[in-house]
Symmetry: C2
Subunit: 360 residues, 2 copies
């Protein structure tokens, strides 16, 4: 068996020890005589798995007690509607900050549920920078301000937390949750699809301050009503049990390997390797403002797009896959989430050097 270096933007590579444990426990979870997939979500075995996953997430991210943690379905794109359904009812208005494709998608979807204002947009820079806070036009009567903390396509990331003057800050953290230390208390709500840093697709984590619950619009489906799910410990409907189990294993792995400080340091070192190389090269380029570069998704372009296919083919031959850029922007993209080892980034940089010396 040879494992590849998988640079997929998500679903993405997972820690090998997690996969080994999942394989080993597949037919019989700890003497229960069942796979986790087969367990009733209301049985004591799965209840313990569910509770431990939540407790570990709370511990790793230091989630304050006045926040609920919900395990839901529908991914971040589902949440693009579910967030306004649940939150916009307080005042009927919301602010959105546009930093790329994902936040634009969130904004468009929200317009079905109230009056939605663009508080700031980086469109004029082609989304290569995060708009400075001073330029944001915030509505003090907004129900919330929405940002996407990391844009996987453009490769920009917030490296500071906006000050929204008391209006709840809502963040789509799908692609950088669990990648660095986080002060949850600065947010009203955080949501994230699990399939980048936390586990398999099909699981959405929502962290929501309790006082924001209870404003759902009447069209909110019960399964997607935060208050209903909070009151039922995310078991109003059958949760995605196996995905929660895998996330729990990933969280345990993060904890065992040093927690958020170690993860963040690891991610910063990996990203530095790649950006330093890009900045020193005239063959490859990354157009993002240095202070706004993503530690998770590194898009880059070859000098000549005619070489793209050869680059990808050579990478594949060396066991490095999913480096093709998003179809909307072309070029390359290396997604280097938590579970991408340093060796993967080293191998990529080494290959990029060789390719440049052959084709530069």
């Amino acid at each position: 068996m040879t494992r590849v270096f998988n640079f997929s933007p998500g679903p993405a590579t997972l820690p090998e020890p997690v996969l080994r444990q999942a394989a080993q426990e597949m037919l019989d979870w700890r003497g229960s005589g069942m796979s986790v997939m087969e367990m009733s979500h209301r049985g004591k075995e799965f209840m313990s798995i569910h509770a431990e996953a939540e407790a570990t997430l709370r511990e790793l991210l230091a989630i304050p007690a006045n926040y609920k943690v919900l395990f839901m379905q529908g991914g971040a794109i589902g949440e693009n509607a579910i967030v306004p359904m649940n939150l916009i009812g307080r005042t009927g208005r919301a602010d959105y900050v546009l930093t790329g494709d994902w936040s634009k998608k969130s904004y468009k979807e929200a317009r079905n549920f109230g009056t939605v204002n663009v508080a700031a947009t980086a469109e004029s820079s082609k989304f290569t920078a995060i708009p400075e806070q001073a330029a944001w036009k915030l509505d003090p009567g907004a129900s919330y301000v929405h940002i996407c903390s990391n844009e996987t396509i453009g490769g920009v990331q917030f490296h500071w937390t906006p000050d929204t003057a008391g209006v709840p800050l809502v963040a789509d953290m799908s692609s950088d949750i669990l990648s660095r230390a986080l002060d949850v208390s600065k947010y009203g709500l955080i949501y994230a699809g699990a399939q980048k840093n936390m586990g398999p697709s099909g699981l959405t984590v929502v962290i929501v301050r309790e006082d924001l619950l209870g404003h759902a619009l009447p069209v909110t489906p019960s399964a997607f009503n935060y208050k209903t799910q909070a009151e039922n410990d995310s078991m109003y409907n059958t949760p995605p049990t196996y995905a929660i189990y895998i996330m729990g294993l990933v969280l345990q792995h993060v904890k065992a390997t040093g927690g958020m400080p170690a993860v963040e340091e690891h991610n910063r070192a990996k990203a530095r390797l790649l950006y330093d190389f890009l900045d020193g090269s005239s063959f490859y380029r990354n157009p993002v403002a240095k202070e706004d570069r993503s530690l998770m998704n590194v898009p880059f372009w070859l000098k000549d797009a005619a070489l793209d296919e050869a680059f990808l083919k050579g990478a594949q031959a060396r066991g490095m896959i999913q480096l093709k850029g998003h179809r909307s922007v072309g070029g390359m993209r290396a997604s280097i989430y938590n579970a991408m080892p340093t060796e993967g980034v080293q191998a990529l940089v080494q290959y990029m050097k060789e390719f440049e010396s052959q084709h530069g």
Copy 2:
């Protein structure tokens, strides 16, 4: 390793060969160097898994070409809202037939999206029978008629297909899809959470006739818009990839073991074993009308509820779990989905005999 006989109403027991294959492929799916969990949903490996799962489902259920098969999230409880969001817009009205807790839940949720009529209800019989078609009060202007083909709590099941005089028939088949032969062409839409007969929780299958698409209400989230998902081969957002993979393995297993005729015969034989025993006993009872009894979920009550705990404890000691009835009705319930082997039902009947002879 000792595997239990798991009578859980869902998530439920899965075929052991499926679990063995999943364990074996966990770290490296067929030489790809990745777990299925780690695959980009847009990569060729997962695309082939997705396509094969759909093709096998189409083959097993003989799904006509003018039906779309969608792989979604949110479970049947999510669909309780998603169905009216997508379908009620045509006329603004829908008919619901109430046969137990699940269809009642569907009905209540639908009322947020239009005028919803109870076409028939079995409430007067305490949901121990399916209401006769002759008594249904159908609205010819309804956008659809909704039924639940099998009620897991009451243990009643449709053994005939309603004639709705051209109005599209919508069925929640969460708990009996893939358990017997099915004429899909008699339905406008079928939906089912996967976690009984098809795979893990977190995956919802929707089979919808193409001409019903395109009537979604403006509040329908994009991720839950059938037309949007149909146009994007269920990849408008990241699908629950691992659950789709496991479902694909289950479907292959069903195909390899004889397809729907063999599955149906197996299920009928298992249910007969249990119902014949119940009917011959004065210690246990099942109150459901014989012609409406579920082949999937068999609720039964002991003569004396004071013996329930002892019954469950003895079952557990013999490796039979999750036999406790739903908290709303008490008693016992044996869920005997596809993957429950005959030996499991035989062991249960044997134990019930012994328990009766000791306590009867």
